[in-house]
C-alpha cells in the first residue's frame, strides 16, 4: 500500500494558526464564539484552535464535544452501526456563533448530521465550519468557511489526519486503499 505524506506537523500548525486568525477576523473578535469539536479528530483540533485563539486574544472561548452518531442518515440502512460516544455540550447554544470543527470534509453528511444536532441544543446565531482538510466529493450542498488545505482526492484514497493526542504524531497522509 502506498503512503504519501501531504502535511507535516509544522504545516498543520501553520494552517491552524491561520484558521484561528480567520475565525477572529470574520467574527470580529471572540464575542459569542463557541467551538464545537466533532468526534473524534475534530475534538483535538477544536482544543488546539481554542489555545491559538487564547494566544491571540487572551480569551478562552468555550469548547465542547459533539458525537453525531445519533443523527447519522445511514443508521437504518447500515448493516453495522457505530458505537455511540458521549456528547458534551454543557451550555446552551442559543444566540451563539458555533464553529464546527472537523478533521476531514468529505461527503458533507457528517456536517449535515452535526447541524441537526446543534439545533437541538438551542438556536445558534450562526453555524460555521472549520476543517483541516477538504478532500472534495460532496454529496450535499455544504462548504467549509475555514479550510486548512484543499486536497483533491480519488474516492478510493484514504486520507488520515494523525494527531499527537490521537496517535502520537502530527501528519496528514494519503493512502491508496486499492
Amino acid at each position: 500500500m502506498q503512503k504519501k505524506l501531504v502535511m507535516d506537523a509544522a504545516e498543520i500548525d501553520r494552517s491552524l494558526t491561520r484558521i484561528a486568525y480567520e475565525i477572529l477576523e470574520k467574527n470580529k473578535g471572540v464575542t459569542d464564539l463557541v467551538l464545537v469539536g466533532i468526534r473524534t479528530g475534530g475534538v483535538f483540533l477544536a482544543e488546539r484552535l481554542q489555545k491559538k485563539i487564547f494566544d491571540i486574544e487572551g480569551v478562552k472561548v468555550p469548547s465542547c464535544i459533539l458525537d453525531i452518531t445519533m443523527y447519522r442518515d445511514d443508521l437504518l440502512s447500515a448493516h453495522r452501526k457505530p458505537r455511540i460516544m458521549k456528547t458534551e455540550i454543557p451550555f446552551s447554544l442559543d444566540k451563539k456563533k458555533a464553529i464546527l470543527v472537523d478533521d476531514v470534509l468529505f461527503t458533507g453528511r457528517t456536517i449535515r448530521a452535526a447541524m441537526d444536532a446543534l439545533i437541538d441544543f438551542g438556536r445558534p446565531q450562526s453555524i460555521q465550519l472549520a476543517v483541516l482538510i477538504d478532500r472534495g466529493h460532496r454529496e450535499l450542498p455544504i462548504r467549509a468557511d475555514f479550510v486548512g488545505a484543499n486536497l483533491p482526492s480519488f474516492l478510493w484514497e484514504e486520507i488520515s489526519v494523525n494527531l499527537i493526542e490521537k496517535n502520537g504524531r502530527d501528519e496528514v497522509v494519503v493512502e491508496d486503499s486499492n
Partner: protein, 307 residues
C-alpha cells in the same frame, strides 16, 4: 467488541464485555434526557411494542420514554386490554403482533421463559422486561450503571442484596451481572426466602442483616412482594421488618459512602425506613433516571449490529 445479539433475554448469557458496551452506550444516551429538546432521530421509523402481561408502571413507562426519545413509535399493550383475556394463547398473540412488522417487542410476563419462547417464535428483537421469578435484565443493567457511575467501577465492590432472593428476578439478574463484573456479593434474608441452589451462584449467604451489611459498598433492598407472599414465608410484615428493615442504626455497619438502592416500588417501613430511602446515601431515583438511558442503549444495540 462486536454486538451480534437479536434479543436481550437475560444477564446470564451476556459476557462482561457486552455488559460494559451496554453501560458505555447508556452513559452516552444519558445526556439526551437532560436537554430541552429530549429527542434524537436515531430510531426514526422503528416500531416498538411494549407487551406487558404483568402490571408495571416504572418499567413500561421507562421503555416507552426510551423509545420516544429515540423517535421510535411505541405502542403499549397490557394483559387486561389484550386478546389474552378472550383466551388467545401467548404464541398466537405474538404471531399476530409479528405480522404487523414491529422491530422490537418488549415483554413482561409472570411465567419464566415467556420471552425466550417468543424469541424463538418471532423474527423481531425481544427484550425481557421481567419473566416470573427468573430474570429482569434491564433492571440489573441500570443498577450496574448506577453503581459504576458512582463508584467508578464494579470490580472489587462489596454488594449486599437483601430480601426475598428466591422469588426475586432483580436479585437473580444482579447476581449474574455483578459476578461477571467482579463484585463480591452477599445475599441476606430469612432462610425461607433463600433459593436452594443459592451457593452455586457464587455468593455469600447470610441470615442476619447486620452481618451482611458489614463493610458494604452497595446495599440493594428488595421489595417484599406482598402480592406474591401469600405463602407463609414469614410470620408477619412486622416481624420481617424487625429483622430485615434497613434503618439508621444497622446501616452504620456499612461503609460511610454506601449506596442505598431499591428497584421500586418501595414499601416504606417494611424493607427500608423512610429516612434511609430519602437519605443522602440513597440513589433510588438515580436508578430510575439511568433506567431510561439503559433502555435507549438496548433499543439502539438490538436494532442493528455494532462494529
Amino acid at each position: 467488541m462486536k454486538w451480534e445479539r437479536k434479543d436481550l433475554l437475560g444477564i446470564k448469557d451476556l459476557s462482561g464485555e457486552e455488559i460494559s458496551l451496554i453501560l458505555d452506550t447508556a452513559e452516552s444516551f444519558l445526556e439526551v434526557s437532560t436537554r430541552d429538546i429530549k429527542k434524537v432521530p436515531t430510531l426514526r421509523g422503528k416500531t416498538i411494542i411494549n407487551f406487558f402481561v404483568e402490571a408495571s408502571t416504572r418499567t413500561r413507562t421507562s421503555f416507552e420514554i426510551a423509545g420516544k426519545r429515540l423517535s421510535a413509535d411505541t405502542i403499549n399493550i397490557s394483559a387486561s386490554t389484550s386478546s389474552l383475556v378472550k383466551g388467545e394463547t401467548l404464541a398466537d398473540t405474538a404471531r399476530n403482533l409479528e405480522a404487523m412488522n414491529p422491530d422490537v417487542i418488549v415483554i413482561r410476563h409472570s411465567c419464566a421463559g415467556a420471552p425466550h419462547m417468543l424469541a424463538r417464535l418471532v423474527r423481531q428483537s425481544i427484550i425481557n422486561a421481567g419473566d416470573g421469578a427468573h430474570e429482569h435484565p434491564t433492571q440489573a443493567l441500570l443498577d450496574m450503571m448506577t453503581i459504576r457511575s458512582r463508584k467508578g467501577t464494579l470490580s472489587g465492590l462489596n454488594v449486599t442484596i437483601v430480601g426475598d432472593i428466591a422469588h426475586s428476578r432483580v436479585a437473580r439478574s444482579n447476581i449474574y451481572g455483578l459476578n461477571k463484573m467482579g463484585a463480591h456479593l452477599t445475599v441476606a434474608g430469612p432462610a425461607t426466602m433463600m433459593p436452594r441452589d443459592i451457593r452455586e451462584l457464587g455468593v455469600k449467604v447470610s441470615f442476619r442483616l447486620e452481618e451482611a451489611l458489614q463493610d458494604a459498598d452497595v446495599v440493594m433492598m428488595l421489595r417484599i412482594q406482598t402480592e406474591r407472599e401469600q405463602r407463609s414465608v414469614f410470620p408477619s410484615l412486622r416481624e420481617y421488618s424487625a429483622f430485615y428493615c434497613l434503618n439508621g442504626d444497622n446501616i452504620q455497619r456499612a461503609r460511610p459512602d454506601v449506596l442505598v438502592m431499591h428497584p421500586g416500588p418501595v414499601n416504606r417501613g417494611v424493607e427500608i425506613s423512610p429516612e434511609i430511602a430519602d437519605g443522602a446515601n440513597s440513589v433510588i431515583l438515580e436508578q430510575v433516571t439511568n433506567g431510561v438511558a439503559v433502555r435507549m442503549a438496548l433499543l439502539y444495540l438490538l436494532t442493528g449490529a455494532i462494529e
